[in-house]
Amino acid sequence: MLEIAVQKRMEDFDLDVMFEAPDGVTAVFGKSGSGKTTLVNAIAGLTRPDAGRIAVHGQVLFDHAARINIPVAKRRVGYVFQDARLFPHMSVQRNLSYGGDHDAARIIDMLGLGALLDRRPAGLSGGERQRVALGRALMCDPQILLMDEPLAALDAARKAEILPYIARLRDETRVPIIYVSHDVSEVARLATTVVVLDAGRVAVAGPVGQVLSRPDLVPLLGTRAAGAVIETRVAGRLLDDDLTELKFSGGRLLMPGHLGALGQALRLRIPAQDVILSREAPKGISALNVLPVTITDIVSGRGPGTAVGLRAGDDQLLARVTRRSAGRMELAVGMQIFAIIKATAVGPKDIGS
């Protein structure tokens, strides 16, 4: 558990945030310049806040009123920077053990670093560098892990290579992870909790499934980023068609490809702009997934779009349609309609464990 209250006067805005991050991954999400990095630097002790209090598991790292400011080196934070920041004059092995060798064998094994130990950072790929940086942060036995856009500099393939490691970390350790990102698919895959920053303030904070599916947050998150996140379980596999059947509280979904073992939990992000609405049960269409849903919210923004909140079983979905369609269909809160999700709309980057 991490408690944060930080105020800091900046050049173009004032950072003023307060929230609590439970164990697991807390994603700090927001546009660039919203204060994400400053916040993380304040937790690490690289930036000194003007006022506030920061505590991890009850241990105070910074308290303006009590004049406590533990120096960076004594905070035991693991910090994974966007640019890895490996020491160029040291081998991977020496980089890893710079801060300690806590649980070295297991971490090297978990991150697949065994073959890299004698190499130098200059000879590593971007993905390998970030894995080493992550291992180095973990081997100093941190009480909190800070990750500032650790994947931003990588292409999709490299991202896909590292995300599972971070998910394993989340599931296998009790270290709270603060994960800064502006990529919603990363957030959706990893996060337990989401904190959305907007111009230095906390715009909203809460469990990932609730925050990302809120229709009123579509303008803030961006139309591409908006979309529900649901927890599903692998219920079956249609071998002939190469499809996987996923079960969740609102029904069944068919997704392309082989997505995991029977019974395995999978987290699925369904982008709002890939959900089509229909008043009647559609017939003769190619989309495989048709779910009966109830409208919970309708939020029109300034643009041509309208965000529609939907309830499917116990889960919340989100659709984005044009205002014109919403008017023509006479959509209203409480109305029972059908949501159509094209199986191929959900890409591999939207599926996590």
């Binding site: 690490a44 002790g45 690289l46 120096p71 960076v72 080196a73 004594k74 905070r75 035991r76 934070v77 693991g78 910090y79 920077f81 640019d83 920041r85 020491f87 160029p88 004059h89 710079y98 801060g99 300690g100 130098r120 950072p121 200059a122 000879g123 180095r136 942060a137 100093c140």
Partner: protein, 230 residues
């Protein structure tokens, strides 16, 4: 090198000793000052910057005169050094080393400062988050990464110290075997008729020493660059 008499050999060995001692003694100060100028904001920073660079722009004779005033046997610091440490600088090879060090200092600071400024402070931050104290960060990250530029500073400083003339001759004169370095020996020989061969030999030695220092530093720099991984 048949034209080299005992006086000339003495001048060569003295020059080497003076330049080496000057550079070795100046190095810790040069690194500290370069670090302060490159990394810290403090009151009087510009003043320090100017003071360090003064010997580079002032006439060397003026520097030598100031050294005489401050470090001479009648100067405040000179007298104190003699009384407390028994260290006499005026008209001694130690004084020549001090003059050479002062003249080489700005060159060393400039080279090292450039190297320090090229190091990403983010690496030092990263080391700190990994639990390293300030001294450990400096010793394990900053210093090794600055090593090529420190080496460049040392070579520049050494070359400058070898060639220093004006400040040295003003401060400690040119006593053969005591304070007569290669440049002052060459200058002295030029005042005497028929000393052509000796001058040529000393000039040749100067050139060989300068080239040797450059080649050595190039070789070391390449080895280090490979180690640093750039």
């Amino acid at each position: 090198m048949g034209a080299l008499g005992p006086n000339e050999w003495a001048a060569i060995f003295l020059s080497l000793r003076v330049a080496l001692v000057a550079v070795i003694c100046a190095l810790p100060f040069a690194i500290s000052v370069a670090y302060l100028l490159a990394r810290k904001q403090f009151f009087g920073r510009q003043l320090l910057n100017v003071a360090v660079h003064l010997p580079l722009v002032m006439p060397p004779v003026v520097t030598g005169y100031l050294l005489l005033v401050v470090f001479g046997s009648q100067g405040p610091v000179g007298r104190a050094l003699e009384q407390v440490l028994g260290l006499s600088l005026a008209f001694r090879w130690t004084g020549a080393a001090l003059a050479a060090a002062i003249m080489a200092f700005p060159l060393m600071v400039r080279a090292i400062r450039l190297g320090l400024e090229a190091i990403d402070p983010g690496l030092e931050d990263a080391a700190a988050t990994l639990g390293a104290s300030r001294w450990r960060v400096f010793g394990t990250v900053t210093l090794p990464l600055a090593l090529p530029s420190i080496l460049a500073g040392v070579v520049l400083g050494f070359a400058k110290a070898l060639g220093e003339f004006g400040a040295t001759i003003t401060f400690v004169a040119a006593i053969p075997g005591q304070t007569q370095t290669i440049p002052s020996a060459i200058y002295g020989l030029l005042q005497v008729p028929n000393s052509g061969p000796a001058v040529v030999s000393l000039v040749t030695v100067s050139i060989i020493l300068a080239m040797g220092a450059l080649l050595l530093s190039e070789w070391l720099a390449q080895r280090m660059a490979r180690k640093v991984g750039r």
